[in-house]
């Protein structure tokens, strides 16, 4: 608590706890705000309310068992978490994933990106008071979750992306399902824009709020839409392409206004770009072909083979009891999650369990800059800034 000069003389600041239970902190986030009247002077985020020790648990499981744990970190982007972990393990093993499986991965991860941005838009809008947008976004997200359920049997924690490829063959009729979604979606995005983009209240609440300069954004390791809205066209899909992204034709939206409104426009543009990528991926995926690489001892054999061939049965048994051991070494792979740079660092010591499995999560690193974004702003703007960074507490705390 400090003393500040006010219009009526020196006064003490007030420390207000924006507690872990709050409908607008997008999870269990506690921010201790030091206020001069309604202006924020200092902010100290207090994390850990959702810390479940995922990294420690991953180190106690074999490499393929840990995939299901990765789903649960950033719970709005489970396929992305699966992908980054599998890419890191595949790098350690030197595995080459077949192109068809890579295209399926890209399609699923981009659908996940659209669904994550829809949740972001819906919750950000409802925080600002635009309640109908929330229901519209979740209506579209429902279609994406139905697609995931058809592909993987699960709406959210799919664990669909596995080491060496994807888990199962795409279901019958998947092209019609995704084609229908792609035809419907662009007009729905137009609907959201019609409600918000030129809306005077929306603009008044978001324009000029939560500004950060590009130099500070880079210095504080911000990534994703927050960095791109500050002016730098840095997207891991373009700069360090992975999983065949170099074969896809898409733009990386970039802006220079670096405020909440700019980030809103940027994410809506990203939804449209992701729709383009899904359409291209759908055209590239052939009707038949491999969905997982052939790597006996690492990738389990097909169930029919396991039931008839002795060798396949032994491989299946060894993989699911003992697991496989990558050579000693380490690997760091970074992908572009809807929130920014999502990285997975795995250190192997030659045993079937990872020696160290660390996830560099974008929400955690971006949240670091929250005190910079909200300095000198009002309490209501704190809600806008927390929403605009797009944090997911599972991603922050793991």
């Amino acid at each position: 608590m400090t003393t500040v000069e006010t219009a009526t003389g020196p006064a003490k600041t007030m420390v207000l706890n924006m507690g872990p239970q709050h409908p607008s902190t997008h999870g269990v986030l506690r921010v201790a705000l030091e206020l001069d009247g309604e202006t924020v002077i200092k902010a100290d985020p207090d994390l850990g309310y959702l810390h479940t020790g995922i990294e420690k648990s991953c180190q106690d499981k074999t490499y393929s068992q840990a995939i299901t744990l990765t789903d649960r970190m950033d719970y709005l982007n489970p396929l992305g978490n699966n992908l980054v972990y599998c890419l890191a393990v595949e790098k350690l093993l030197g595995l080459e994933v077949p192109k068809r499986a890579q295209y399926i991965r890209v399609m699923m991860v981009e659908l996940q990106r659209i669904s994550s941005h829809l949740v972001w838009l819906g919750t950000h809008a409802i925080d600002m008071g635009a309640m109908s947008v929330f229901l519209y976004c979740f209506r579209e997200r429902e279609e994406i979750l139905k697609i995931f359920e058809r592909f993987a049997g699960q709406r959210m924690m799919t664990s669909y992306i596995r080491i060496g490829g994807v888990a199962v063959e795409p279901p019958a009729g998947w092209r019609e399902m995704i084609g229908k979604f792609l035809k419907m979606m662009p007009s729905r995005v137009d609907e959201y824009e019609a409600l918000l983009t030129e809306n005077r209240i929306w603009q008044a609440r978001l324009k000029g709020v939560g500004k950060i300069s590009l130099d500070r954004a880079i210095a504080y390791s911000m990534s994703g839409p927050t960095l791109r809205a500050a002016g730098l066209a840095h997207d891991n899909r373009k700069v360090f392409p992975y999983s065949s992204y170099e074969e896809f034709n898409f733009e990386v939206p970039t802006r220079t206004d670096s405020d909440c409104y700019g980030r809103y426009m940027l994410r809506v543009a990203e939804i449209r770009e992701s729709l383009k990528i899904v359409e291209q991926a759908m055209a590239k995926i052939t009707d038949s072909g491999p969905i997982r690489t052939e790597a006996p001892g690492i990738v389990p054999p097909e169930r029919e083979k396991m039931k008839t061939e002795m060798e396949a049965l032994i491989y299946h048994f060894k993989i699911f009891t003992e697991g496989f051991s990558p050579p000693p070494g380490d690997a760091y792979v970074a992908i572009e999650s809807p929130r920014g740079e999502l990285g997975c660092y795995i250190a192997s010591d030659g045993s079937p369990k990872p020696l160290r499995c660390h996830f560099r999560t974008p929400s955690y690193v971006n949240l670091q800059a929250l005190p910079l974004l909200i300095h000198g702003q009002l309490i209501a703007d704190v809600i806008a800034c927390i929403g605009t960074i797009d944090i997911v507490l599972g991603d922050v705390d793991r």
Binding site: K56, S221, M222, L232, G343, R356, R360, V365
Partner: protein, 171 residues
């Protein structure tokens, strides 16, 4: 950039580092297109500053720690840095012993290291000299121990007062 293209460009970087201070590059590890430069602990801050100022590594991707208990040196601290203008990645590694787990903080070089180092301190117990705000971040402030260390169990109970969980009274 292809893997080999990346590797050529990073070997140029490693040569520049050697030219600046040969003692800073005590070991170079190449693995699947990734280059790791092992730096002695005393020279880490200076090497990082050189990488940021002269070699244009302006972005800190990640800071990680590895516990190799019971091997010595016990801890490894890795800094994954990216040069956005040159599209290059590099890993700086330093090894510290279990009896003196202290490393110079990279916050003066890349402010984004602030929370990454706090997490390493919280979960692994490695202290960072010169960190502006080194305290626990994910665990409660009064937690004892550092869970990510290999000698810390993955599951179990601590002394829980029996008034909280009557079914699990201490025997």
């Amino acid at each position: 950039m292809s893997e080999s293209g990346q590797q050529n460009a990073t070997s140029v970087i490693v040569e520049k580092l050697r030219g600046w201070n040969a003692k800073a590059v005590s070991e170079v590890i190449e693995f699947h297109g990734e280059t790791t430069v092992v730096v002695p602990r005393e020279l880490l801050r200076a090497t990082a500053e050189y990488c940021r100022a002269e070699l244009e590594f302006n972005f800190l991707s990640d800071a990680t720690s590895v516990d190799r208990f019971p091997g010595e040196p016990r801890f490894e601290v890795n800094y994954h840095i990216v040069s956005i203008p040159k599209r290059l990645k590099l890993r700086l590694r330093t090894r510290v012993s279990g009896s003196d787990p202290t490393v110079d903080s990279m916050v003066p070089v890349w402010p984004g290291a602030g929370w990454l180092e706090r997490e390493i301190f919280d979960l692994m117990g490695i202290r960072f000299n010169g960190h502006p705000d080194l305290r626990r971040i994910l665990l409660p402030a009064d937690w004892e121990g550092h869970p990510l260390r290999r000698d810390y169990p993955t599951e179990g109970f601590r002394d829980i007062p029996s008034t909280y969980l009557p079914a699990f009274k201490k025997q």
